[in-house]
Amino acid sequence: MDQAEAAEKIVTALKKKKGKSKFYFNDLCKILGEKPRPAKKFISKMVIDEILEYWSSGSTTLYSLKGVGKQAAAEHED
C-alpha cells in the first residue's frame, strides 16, 4: 500500500460514517488493515498533508477529516 492508497481508503471509509466524525487511532488501523506501527506512518503523513486533523479531549486524541464535525462550531473556533 502506498500513501495515496492509504489516504484514499481512510477518506472513503470516514466519509461513509454518518453522525460520527471522530475516530480513534485503532479505527484507522482497522480501516487500513495494518498493524499500528506501519499505520502510524500513513496517518501522520495525512495530518501533515492536511487531510486529517487531530481532536483531543486533553486525555484522549481522536482523528477526523479536516474541518468535519460539530466541535468547531461549539467551540466558536469556526
Binding site: K20, K22, S57, L62, G69, K70, Q71, A74
Partner: protein, 382 residues
C-alpha cells in the same frame, strides 16, 4: 493589540518548522557544585526545617533552602525567584516534585543571608512569598490540580482549598514534629490528576449529581456516539426527546443510579454539564503512601464521604484535616506513616481518635474487590 508574528507562516506550516527537539538537556542547568559532584554524594542532613546540606565525597557541600511554592505562579513571581537566585545562587535553582522551590548555595555562609532574604519577602496581605520548610517529618506542599482556575470538570477549587489548608497546616510546614512525613494532595475531580490516590491525606472534589441534559442542543453541540462511549459505566443511552415546542430531537438519556458522577460525558459533550452548587463538594481520603519504606505503598481510603463547598476557606474540611493531623501526631510511633498508624490501631480506632463519623458510604460497594475490604476475621476492637 497588534499581532506580532514569531515568524510562523500559517499558510506554510511546515516551512522552517522545528519539531521533536524535546526539552532542554538537564545538565545545561546544573549549578556547578551539582555538576561536579553528581553521583558522588555521601550523605545529607536537615539543618533546620527546609534547610538541607548534602555532602559529597569531594568534601563539597550543597545547602538547599526549600521554600513553599504556589505552583500557580505569575511571571512576576518567577522573575522575583530569578532575582533571588541571581543574587544568592549564581543564577541557579530547581523545583521539587511537589512544586516547592529549592535555592541552592555551595557554602554555609551563604545560607543565612539567603534565608533572611527569603523570609523578608511578604505579599501585600502579609502572606509569606517564600516560606521555608517542607522537609523531614513535617508537612510539605500540597500537590494539586487546576480546579476552577482552568478545568471543566472540577467539583471544587484546587488553589483555594490548598491555600485554606496550607494556612491551617502551616506550623507543620515549618516544623518537623510529626512521627513521619505527611503528604497532603488535592485533586478536583475523580480523574485524580496527581497521586491523590496514595497520599497520607487527600482532598478530592466530588460531584454527586448526574449531568443535566441540554436536549435542545445535544445533537447540535455534541457527537452523541462520542458522549455515549465516554461513559465508563455505560449509563448513557441514545434517546429521542420531544421538546416543549413539540419538535422531536435526538438526544441521550442517563440511567441515573448507574452514574458515578465522573464528568467524562461533559468532557466529550458540553450539553451535559454536571457542576452543582450543593451537589459538589469534597471527599477526604487518608492513609495512602508511595514510598516503600518499611511497608509497601498504599492507597488512600475514603474517610469522609462528603463535605460541602464552603468558599472561600472550607472550614469544615480544614477542621477535619486538622483533627486527623493532630490525632496522628499525638498517637503514632516515630517513623510511622499515617496509614501505617491507622492499620496498627485499626480503622475502628482511627475514626474514634480523629472524631470522624463512620457512615455507610465508607464501606466499599464498588465491584468485586469491595469484598476484600470487609472484615473477615474476629480480630477487631470493641
Amino acid at each position: 493589540m497588534a499581532f506580532v508574528s514569531s515568524g510562523y507562516n500559517p499558510d506554510k506550516p511546515m516551512a522552517n518548522r522545528i519539531t521533536d527537539i524535546g526539552p532542554r538537556k538537564f545538565d545545561e542547568f546544573y549549578p556547578p557544585v551539582i555538576a561536579k559532584n553528581k553521583g558522588k554524594w555521601l550523605y545529607h542532613e536537615i539543618l533546620e526545617p527546609g534547610i538541607l546540606v548534602h555532602v559529597a565525597e569531594s568534601g563539597d557541600e550543597v545547602y538547599t533552602i526549600r521554600t513553599g511554592g504556589c505552583r500557580l505562579m505569575s511571571v512576576s513571581h518567577i522573575r522575583e525567584i530569578c532575582e533571588i537566585a541571581d543574587k544568592h545562587c549564581d543564577g541557579h535553582l530547581r523545583f521539587t516534585t511537589r512544586n516547592n522551590i529549592e535555592f541552592m548555595v555551595d557554602s554555609k555562609e551563604k545560607v543565612e543571608p539567603l534565608k533572611q532574604d527569603l523570609l523578608s519577602r511578604k505579599q501585600a496581605g502579609g502572606c509569606y512569598k517564600f516560606p521555608i520548610g517542607g522537609s523531614g517529618a513535617g508537612i510539605t506542599n500540597i500537590v494539586h490540580t487546576q480546579g476552577w482556575i482552568h478545568c471543566h470538570t472540577p467539583a471544587t477549587d484546587a488553589s483555594g482549598t490548598v491555600k485554606a489548608t496550607m494556612d491551617v497546616l502551616f506550623d507543620d510546614f515549618t516544623n518537623m514534629r510529626l512521627p513521619a512525613k505527611l503528604k497532603v494532595s488535592m485533586a478536583c475531580c475523580l480523574n485524580m490528576c496527581g497521586a491523590v490516590h496514595c497520599s497520607d491525606i487527600a482532598i478530592l472534589g466530588y460531584h454527586r449529581k448526574p449531568p443535566m441534559l441540554d436536549h435542545e442542543y445535544m445533537n447540535k453541540m455534541c457527537e452523541i456516539p462520542l458522549a455515549i462511549a465516554a461513559c465508563p459505566t455505560y449509563a448513557i443511552k441514545p434517546a429521542k426527546v420531544t421538546l416543549e415546542d413539540g419538535t422531536e430531537v435526538k438526544s441521550v438519556s442517563v440511567n441515573e443510579p448507574r452514574c458515578m458522577f465522573c464528568g467524562n460525558c461533559y468532557t466529550m459533550c458540553p450539553a451535559m454539564p454536571l457542576a452543582d452548587d450543593v451537589g459538589d463538594g469534597i471527599v477526604l481520603m487518608a492513609g495512602g503512601k508511595v514510598s516503600n519504606r518499611i511497608s509497601a505503598p498504599k492507597f488512600s481510603k475514603v474517610v469522609v464521604a462528603f463535605i460541602p463547598n464552603e468558599m472561600p476557606r472550607w472550614p469544615t474540611m480544614t477542621d477535619a484535616i486538622q483533627r486527623m493531623v493532630e490525632a496522628y501526631a499525638a498517637d503514632a510511633n516515630k517513623y510511622e506513616r499515617l496509614g501505617e498508624w491507622a492499620e496498627r490501631i485499626g480503622w475502628e480506632r482511627f475514626f474514634e481518635k480523629c472524631e470522624l463519623e463512620f457512615t455507610h458510604h465508607l464501606i466499599d460497594d464498588f465491584r468485586d474487590p469491595a469484598y476484600f475490604t470487609w472484615r473477615q476475621t474476629t480480630n477487631f476492637k470493641f
